[in-house]
């Protein structure tokens, strides 16, 4: 059995597991369209100032359309964060057993990263397609790209918290609070000072910029794609380090000898 086939086995089961998370699927199917619908129903289309930092342009963007992007980011971050947190936390002991039985930690980690990317891509695609029913942005793929980067950030955060936090409630609460603060503050609808420089350091800042570029037909900056990947990379690296530490076999005092 090759490393590739073991990696594919671990990836297949990581994805199976995510597909069987019915609560997350239900949230995705219902929460995303309902969330957009509330914005359609309750948020006016009045123009709001939004600073698009790639070109330094101060936009007067349609508040409702800006709200759709913010709502999408908020829903995606919560759902993907929840999915990765739940699976990582629940299976920490199982993963440890696998490594004790000889499964390579590197392959398990690679499988988790693959699952993170696949789940983020699919959830973002769904949220982008549902958005299309409510509003036709200038570039749906670019809106998706922003959603995808944000999903990666919170999926990686879920992975980190799943490896680090013992209690289920504490982890969920942390994800909800971080997502709320982060995505709400990026939106001038909820935060009149949303154009403050300090917000550039928040995880949703660069994804929001990408999605706004897609939504309103602005020139996309590759630099912002790079910024968007900084948070997920940091969260994933930390999470996988903790995962590695918690699942590695304590082999210092164990010496396997050949049978005579």
């Amino acid at each position: 059995m090759t490393s590739l086939s073991r990696y594919l086995t671990a990836t297949r089961y990581a994805l199976f597991e995510q597909a069987r998370n019915r609560t997350a699927l239900l949230l995705l199917l219902l929460f995303v369209p309902v969330w957009y619908y509330f914005y359609l129903l309750l948020i006016p289309s009045d123009p709001l100032p939004f600073l698009y930092r790639a070109t330094g342009t101060l936009l007067q963007a349609n508040g409702q359309e800006l709200g759709f992007i913010s709502a999408g980011l908020n829903a995606i971050t919560l759902i993907v964060g929840f999915m990765l947190f739940a699976s990582t936390r629940k299976n920490m002991q199982f993963d440890r057993r696998l490594t004790l039985c000889g499964f390579s930690q590197a392959l398990l980690i690679a499988a988790k990263l693959t699952a993170l990317v696949v789940v983020s891509a699919i959830v973002s695609l769904y949220a982008s397609l549902v958005l299309f029913f409510y509003w036709h942005p200038s570039s749906l793929p670019l809106v998706w790209l922003g959603f995808f980067c944000s999903a990666l950030s919170y999926g990686a955060l879920g992975l980190l918290l799943g490896a680090l936090v013992r209690g289920e409630l504490e982890g969920f609460f942390l994800i909800i609070m971080i997502s709320l603060i982060d995505t709400l503050l990026q939106n001038p609808l909820g935060n009149p000072i949303a154009n403050q420089p300090v917000l550039r350091w928040f995880p949703s800042f660069a994804p929001m910029q990408l999605s706004v570029a897609g939504g309103f037909g602005l020139h996309m900056s590759w630099l912002y794609l790079f910024y968007s990947l900084a948070w997920p990379s940091g969260f994933a690296l930390l999470g996988l380090l903790v995962f590695w530490w918690k699942t590695h076999a304590r082999s210092v005092h164990i010496i396997a000898l050949q049978q005579s």
Partner: protein, 223 residues
Amino acid sequence: MAEPLLQSQGLRKSFGRRKVLRGVTFSVYRRSLVGIVGENGAGKSTLLRILAGELQPDGGQVFRYGLMGYCPQAVNLNDALTVEQHLDYFRAAYRINDLDYANKLIEQLGYQAYRHELVGKLSGGTKQKLNLTLALMHRPQLLLLDEPYQGFDWETYQRFWGLVSDLRQRDCAVLIISHLFFEQTRFDVLYHLEQGRMQAPEANGSATETRIGTGSASTEGKE
């Protein structure tokens, strides 16, 4: 003299101020059936976790020879996968090519009807059967079992001992820990873990070495 497949030398472990293991030394030999009994909280599971490589001791050494199978007390399974998927996953972990022996174990333990069921929907007893199968499916030479028959009905309990007998025929050494053994005569060696030390059952805590059959034990007063 039979070869040792496991040697524990002066194992010590504390959790905060609580000293759980205070210098545990013993060996497990080929084809032997060794039991470790002790009250709840005596440190049995801690000892087995160290022997399996799951936990780092504060001091002492473990020498393990050959392939190990480990069945932890907590049923570490993935509720979102089926029995069949578990077998496939662990086949990849053990790097074995076929599931012939795993299939035989499933038949022997009598849960072949649940192969395609999600583990989350199985009863506690059936989960424990799978837990045991995963520890055995790669034909280990040394088997470490922590309360392996909890949740088993009488028939399965008997089948379990039949399985242990088969393993010993194949030269496998089996170490079982439990808070209670009903049939102590089954064991070649039976140790009592008390206050972090291995005690000989008839020694009233004063003896330092016991040997029955092919096993041996001693404790070291390191404090």
